[in-house]
């Protein structure tokens, strides 16, 4: 009996018991109840997670311990930006910057709902203020400037705030002579800010031109999914570009391409492995070795990075007290 069946049986038994109780008491509120009331499975759901790829039921805490990678099939589940930071950065070393750069509604955009309402809903459901978190942190004691996109916030779309926060991060990395790591997960440019979203592609790329001229390292990590204006700007400009296994990455979406060329696309089209085979990225890195790979890369490029402050090969934030996260 698989885990799934076990779980199902248990739920059925519970339902039977409950129905028995109701039968003993006659009726509830004077109504005969034929079907059992639904069992509240909030607790059960948080204990178990179904793998999005192989559908195996996994014990949630085991899955989290394995960095949200399915032990059964190796599928890399999407991470929240906070989970990503926790996995990648040395405990307590992350300092967020520009957290109060907040979205505006320059076009007074209304589709089926006002953009303003969408922003509020997105903030509520995702728990973050915009589709990217930026800041500084240490990776195995090496200081880096880090930006992590949040897909749960309007599909990780790039509007003015995402563009501004990336630009500010890159500018400060140039001043502090830090390597930059950007972790993308995005559907592309945000339509609700119209042309201003498009201009963020130019803005981030222009900032990366300055980083390039300053000869500082930029590592771009592409995660499930990265598309459109994000891929076609900062995400593809890394000195080193890496992707997580099976992540879907591309410019145009699969459906758009199929409609344009009127043919079915190969199954592995636009996956990280496909990109590697086509010479578009340097490597596909499993999450379990991600931190060490990034750390090694930063170390091997250290000749151009001059950390300020305590400079014994240790991070600039090494001596700082552990900060409580906001």
């Amino acid at each position: 009996m698989g885990l799934k069946d076990f779980f199902k049986n248990r739920q059925l038994k519970k339902a039977e018991k409950l129905q028995g109780k109701i039968a003993l008491n006659g009726s509830v509120n004077g109504h005969d109840i034929k079907t059992p009331p639904p069992i509240c499975d909030d607790v059960l759901c948080s204990l178990w997670t179904k793998c999005q790829s192989c559908k195996e039921l996994l014990y949630t805490s085991d899955l989290k311990k394995n960095l949200s990678v399915c032990k059964n099939c190796g599928y890399h589940h999407r991470l929240t930006s906070q989970e990503r930071i926790d996995q990648l950065v040395d405990y307590g070393s992350f300092i967020e910057i520009d957290e109060n750069v907040l979205p505006d509604d320059p076009l007074n955009f209304v589709d089926l709902k006002p953009y303003k309402d969408r922003l509020k809903e997105a903030a509520k459901s995702s728990g973050v203020k915009e589709a990217i978190i930026t800041g500084y942190g240490n990776i195995n004691n090496s200081p880096v400037a880090l930006g992590v996109m949040e897909f749960q916030y309007i599909g990780g779309s790039m509007g003015s705030v995402v563009g501004e926060k990336i630009t500010r991060l890159v500018e400060s990395a140039i001043l502090k002579r830090l390597p930059v790591i950007l972790i993308s997960s995005s559907g592309g440019a945000r339509m609700h800010e119209g042309i201003l979203s498009l201009m963020q592609m130019a803005k981030t790329s222009s900032a990366l031109k300055s980083l390039h001229e300053a000869k500082l390292l930029y590592i771009s990590l592409l995660t499930e999914p990265t598309f459109g204006g994000v891929t076609a700007s900062f995400a593809m400009l890394g000195d080193i570009i890496m992707a997580e296994p099976q992540a879907r990455i591309g410019f145009a979406g699969r459906r758009v391409i199929e409609e344009t060329i009127r043919q079915k696309l190969p199954k592995d089209f636009q996956t990280a492995e496909y990109l590697l085979e086509n010479g578009q990225i340097d490597m596909v890195v499993p999450r379990t070795s991600l931190k060490n790979t990034i750390c090694d890369l930063v170390r091997l490029h250290k000749q151009n990075h001059k950390p300020i402050g305590s400079n014994n090969g240790k991070g600039i934030f090494h001596e700082m007290p552990i900060l409580a996260r906001i």
Partner: protein, 321 residues
Amino acid sequence: MKTEQDVIPLDFEKPLIALAKQIAELEEKALNNGNKKIVNDLKNQYEKVKSQIYKNLSPIEKVKIARHVQRPYALDYIQLISPIWIELHGDRTGKDDSAMVGGLIEIDGQTLMAIGTQKGRNIKENQKRNFGMPSPEGYRKALRLFYHAEKFNMPVITFIDTPGAYPGLEAEAHNQSQAIAMNLRELAGLTVPVIAVVTGEGGSGGALAVGVANRVLMLENSVYSVISPEGCAAILWRTRDKAKEAAEALKITAQDLLRLGVIDEIIPEVEGGAHYNPSLTSQCLIAAIKKHLSELQKLTPSEVKNDRQDKIRKMGAFISV
């Protein structure tokens, strides 16, 4: 100049066509009857209707003008503004993409690099030009020409009229994203003046890849957008039929973009659109290019670069607490 009969009318221009027909018929009769008053009245009404239609064009109507099959394209403007045109071909690695054209032109004795997306006017031309949707090789050809311009200190003029970068299997396999991204980054770093002109459709990243400039100009009836109104409607309204609403919401007209500070100047067109009189439009275009060029050429190379980067840096609207 094209006469109005030569122009293929758009659906909102049909009342005008009906009136013009009526006038022509009556004029013929009037010649016999001497009934000139009715003809004159009709002509007045015609002018009234005409200016009413063209003055209050909705965004989606501007999209239709911008996509008009007779609208002048990059090569038309190049022929009209420069006595010489030497086209340069190929990305030097595998292909020459005809959806992107580039080459040398001369204005007032000064050499310029002209680069533009190029649509075709019929099926055969569009097979070659791919409806003005460049492949990665097209963007890499443009990049090669940017470097050429930088080396020989030539200002760059780009003409933008594209539905967007081509969404195809081969384009993805050859890394469309990287081709666009590299152009964005390298355009930001040029020390020669760059002037971009949106002449028709400015279709998203595929347009921006040749549009990072010191000055961005737009023809009066052109549009520039992060996504096509149809594409936006399909995603946000869940039906392509709402393209009209999407076109309004996205703020894609030259007038909107000037208000948003994304572009620097609107180049006027004749009533009805540039296709009614390409040569007059090109005269306005060349005057604007010369004006901006002379301003930019007062700057040193590093000032030119800073000017462009500062301009891009200011783009965006957010709240900073």
